[in-house]
């Protein structure tokens, strides 16, 4: 018997003009881990809510067809009864925790089932041990970090070993480390408890490796139901925006997409496009701030800084130190990504930049107004129409200047549109030279955004023409827009360098392309990776034709003599020197890296069907005269 069985399910929210789910027929076997993919508004959340019984019992609306979950027909059994067999986890852990302590939280669902105290106690202990939160059991839920809270919420969903667990973007608010940990825990729950897991995610590269199956929704309909490998092949043909960066890279160089970093790397090696050992050439790590290059950059930037934080401390009264002697200088036009774990101090740094908080020690100076877009764009929306929220020019800059938006209620916009509207609000009157922001800061702007919206936002940030500082957990997004990445830990920068330097060498704070290529050449995006591989392949072929260099059957890497970074005896270790020179000198072969990676020319449609045109229609080429 299937764990989840949907037969012709069509569901329409009350007052909605069109159904959110259309004739969905689906069978999920017990113990399967299914990833639900699709763009924003494709019906992913609604599908999960139909499985947990919230649609239609909680939301109302019209429901047609039949959904049987763990043997219960959702038309006859509401979410309360389904909760006996279905655990549910939503995006925001803050609103899912209803009691004061972790122990009570884990016990809450079990007590609602009417289990005996002994059964409740056992369920709590098992869930706590399985998720490694046993040391949190007596802690107050108000004291927990976002990652801990989400773990507790997952524990509450898993307590009592439900047959089915549905999760709606559970990692969207977590840093890469906590996100990976959560997915690891899910996988373990799937293997240990044989729980059927239905997981909706935008960042597919994170979870495809653990999935048994991928379901893709578009306009409320299932358009693909396949294994992860088949899904990637399908996405390459039919839904390029759903391709993972790794799959894009592989497609672009003519290799069949593979799931996960390890398999993708293996596929590239098998095709002779990657050295046998990825670490053969060490990636260059950004030095710690205050040393070497970082110090030189600092000196240059100081002269005409758009934003300067000088030895800033932020110490809470009777609490911890949030920022610790932090110095940071941002040049005009510079695009900086702030990365780090939850609680590293990213948001506090942005708040200092915007003057929302005062440092306990140190100084903050900006060349003009600092526009800050906080995490929740809805907090900015207070008027009844889009036109009333922001000046027309700012709306135009963010692509909301059309008449179709002017009269709409801001809260009716999609997530991505709300984000852009909030950005227009903080940009303000950009025609007024005095009011134009010198720095634009954004705090986690891509939470819950699909790839299309992230792409649009990255493009927009590249075009703003002002200093941009973005706190983000998303290395793909950081690679897409940032020239410089500052990695924070415990309130202080631990790495500060170009995006290639910082994001190519790590594991958690690295793009999928960088992880596949082992940090080679500092390539971060599929386009950069493709260009790197193609250029080296071309060099290898040219040299082979000239008879000067014989690739061995066990080909390692095309380091032909004469290329920068090589010696007569072969390749030099430390490819980044070569990479750095190549970046500085476009004459060294191949095309030069574009200043904004997002606007780099994508591979041709034949090589990579997943890429899109660099300039989106409707977006102005330059927001304001510079």
């Amino acid at each position: 018997m299937s764990a989840v069985e949907l037969r012709g399910v069509t569901y329409t929210y009350p007052g909605a003009p069109a159904p959110a789910l259309r004739d969905v027929t689906l069978d999920i076997a017990p113990g399967e881990l299914v990833v639900v993919a699709g763009g924003s508004g494709s019906g992913k959340s609604t599908l999960l809510r139909a499985i947990s019984g919230l649609a239609p019992h909680f939301h109302g609306g019209t429901f047609a067809g039949q959904a049987i979950v763990a043997g219960m027909d959702t038309r006859e059994h509401g979410p309360g009864e389904l909760a006996q067999a279905v655990g549910t986890l939503f995006q925001d852990p803050e609103t899912q925790v209803v009691t004061g302590t972790v122990r009570a939280e884990l016990a809450f669902g079990l007590e609602n089932r009417g289990l005996s105290p002994a059964e409740v106690a056992r369920g709590v202990e098992e869930a706590a041990l399985a998720l490694a939160i046993d040391q949190l059991l007596e802690r107050s839920t108000a004291e927990l970090s976002g990652g801990e809270l989400q773990r507790v919420a997952l524990g509450a969903a898993l307590a009592g070993r439900p047959e089915v667990v549905v999760l709606d973007e559970p990692t969207s608010q977590l840093d890469p480390v906590a996100g990976d940990e959560l997915l690891g825990l899910l996988r373990r729950a799937n293997e240990d408890f044989e729980a059927t897991i239905v997981l909706a995610e935008h960042r597919l590269e994170r979870c495809l490796g653990a999935a048994d199956r991928v379901i893709v929704l578009t306009g409320g309909q299932i358009v693909c139901d396949a294994s992860p490998e088949e899904f990637l092949a399908w996405a390459g043909r039919a839904a390029p925006n759903l391709q993972t960066p790794g799959a894009r890279l592989l497609s672009a160089v003519g290799v069949a997409p593979a799931v996960g970093v390890k398999r993708a790397r293996g596929a590239l090696r098998q095709a002779g496009l990657l050295p046998e050992r990825a670490r053969e050439i060490e990636p260059r790590w950004a030095g710690p701030p205050g040393s070497g290059r970082a110090r030189r950059r600092e000196r240059v930037a100081r002269a005409s800084a758009a934003l300067r934080l000088d030895r800033v401390w932020h110490e809470l009264r009777s609490g911890p130190v949030i920022l610790r002697d932090l110095s940071l200088t941002v040049a005009p036009d510079e695009r900086v990504a702030l990365m780090g774990r939850n609680g590293a101090g990213k948001s506090t740094l942005l708040r200092h930049a915007a003057g929302l908080v005062k440092p306990t020690r140190g100084t903050v100076a900006a060349a003009g107004r600092v526009a800050l877009l906080l995490q929740n764009p809805t907090d900015y929306l207070v008027h009844e129409t889009v036109a009333a929220e922001a000046p027309p020019r700012a709306l135009e800059v963010v692509g909301l200047g059309g008449a179709e938006f002017a009269a709409r209620h801001p809260r009716d916009l999609s997530g991505g549109e709300k984000q852009r509207l909030a950005l227009a609000i903080v940009l303000g009157d950009i025609d007024d030279v005095d009011a134009r922001p010198a720095v634009v800061c954004l705090d986690e702007p891509t939470r819950g955004m699909d790839r299309d919206h992230k792409h649009q936002l990255a493009e927009l940030l590249c075009r703003l023409g002002t200093a941009v500082v973005v706190a983000t957990h998303d290395p793909e997004f950081a690679a897409a827009f940032a020239e410089r990445v500052v990695l924070l830990a415990d309130g202080a920068p631990i790495a500060d360098g170009s995006a290639a330097e910082v994001l190519a060498g790590g594991s958690y704070f690295a793009t999928e392309t960088a992880r596949i290529l082992g940090g080679l050449g500092g390539a971060l995006t599929p386009a950069q990776g493709t260009a790197l591989i193609e250029r080296r392949t071309a060099a290898r072929e040219a040299i082979a034709l000239a008879g000067r260099w014989e690739p061995s059957p066990c080909w390692r890497w095309p380091w032909p003599p004469g290329l920068p970074g090589t010696s007569a005896s072969g390749p030099m270790h430390g490819s980044s020197r070569w990479w750095g020179r190549w970046r500085r000198s476009p004459r060294s072969g191949g095309s030069r890296l574009p200043p904004c990676p997002m606007s780099s020319p994508p591979p041709t449609s034949s090589s990579s069907p997943g890429t899109r045109s660099a300039v989106r229609p409707g977006l102005p080429s330059a927001p304001w005269p510079r």
Partner: protein, 287 residues
């Protein structure tokens, strides 16, 4: 100002014992007719807070309570016509008419204010030291949904405060003139409703909708449970004795009469003693 598990005998006691003990202190504050006894109750609550590790919060609340107590005293002094010892003649005031402030009304007002402060402190001590989840478990057998609603409402307070701060920060980031208060109020209300919907959905999927009456939760009585329950009984007993004992009587009108003999002082000393005795046992206070 919310519950946090600390290593103290009061935190270690079961919620029923903690509740009963705080309630006994509140009853003592309500029953105390003698200002010495009322002062003793206030001291007992503050000392208990210090011994439970929440002294700073209680001290802060006591400071906030001083203006409240002064306001009560002032109002009583202005509106009460009883008392023979006039200390201030304010003449003919609008609304109040002929106003003479008497010593008796002032003292009685001060006592009412002190009683209010003591009750506030008792409530705060309960909030800070008694586990609300256990209280929920305690009362859910009687009225599950009401208990849960109360518990969730308590839990939502800090969430909504954080939401409010976020909204205020976002508005500070807006360039140009700030939006009208009405627009802000509307946005805040919409945000609260969104939050409420999210929490309601979370409760639904956690089985709240079909929650069954939970079975009785039997747990062996610890030394702290017994001590605080015994203390609660003793506090009420001392309070009743003091109330009935003419040696501890107090009359404000028409003239002040305060019994401050040895018996009254003994009762006043006994009250904090029986209230604080359970704090002497420090074994097994942390989980």
């Amino acid at each position: 100002m919310m519950y946090r598990r600390r290593a103290s005998p009061l935190h270690a006691a079961r919620a029923a014992a903690g509740c009963a003990w705080c309630l006994a202190l509140a009853i003592a504050a309500l029953m105390a007719s003698n200002p010495i006894l009322l002062g003793a109750v206030t001291v007992a609550v503050l000392a208990a807070g210090a011994l439970a590790g929440v002294g700073r919060q209680l001290g802060r609340a006591a400071l906030w309570g001083v203006p409240v107590a002064l306001a009560i005293m002032l109002v009583n002094a202005l509106v009460t016509r009883d008392g023979l010892t006039v200390i201030l003649r304010l003449g003919d005031l609008p609304i109040l008419g002929q106003t003479d402030v008497t010593l008796e009304a002032t003292v009685y007002g001060a006592m009412l204010g002190l009683r209010a402060v003591a009750l506030i402190l008792c409530g705060l001590l309960y909030t800070l030291a008694v586990d609300p989840d256990e209280v929920l478990r305690l009362f859910r057998r009687v009225s599950f949904r009401s208990a849960l609603t109360a518990a969730v409402a308590t839990r939502m307070v800090p969430v909504l405060i954080r939401d409010g701060r976020r909204l205020a920060d976002a508005q500070r980031c807006r360039p140009g003139p700030p939006p009208s208060r009405l627009a802000l109020m509307r946005a805040a209300c919409t945000g609260v409703l969104d939050r409420a919907l999210d929490v309601a959905a979370a409760l639904e999927v956690r089985g709240y909708g079909s929650a069954r009456r939970p079975p009785a939760h039997r747990r062996a009585y610890s030394r702290h449970d017994v001590a605080f329950l015994a203390s609660a009984v003793a506090i009420v007993a001392v309070s009743v004795t003091a109330r009935l004992d003419p040696a501890a009587a107090f009359a404000a009108y028409p003239e002040l009469h305060l019994a401050a003999g040895a018996q009254a002082l003994l009762l006043a000393a006994a009250l904090p003693a029986v209230a604080l005795l359970p704090f002497a046992a420090r074994r097994g206070v942390s989980r």
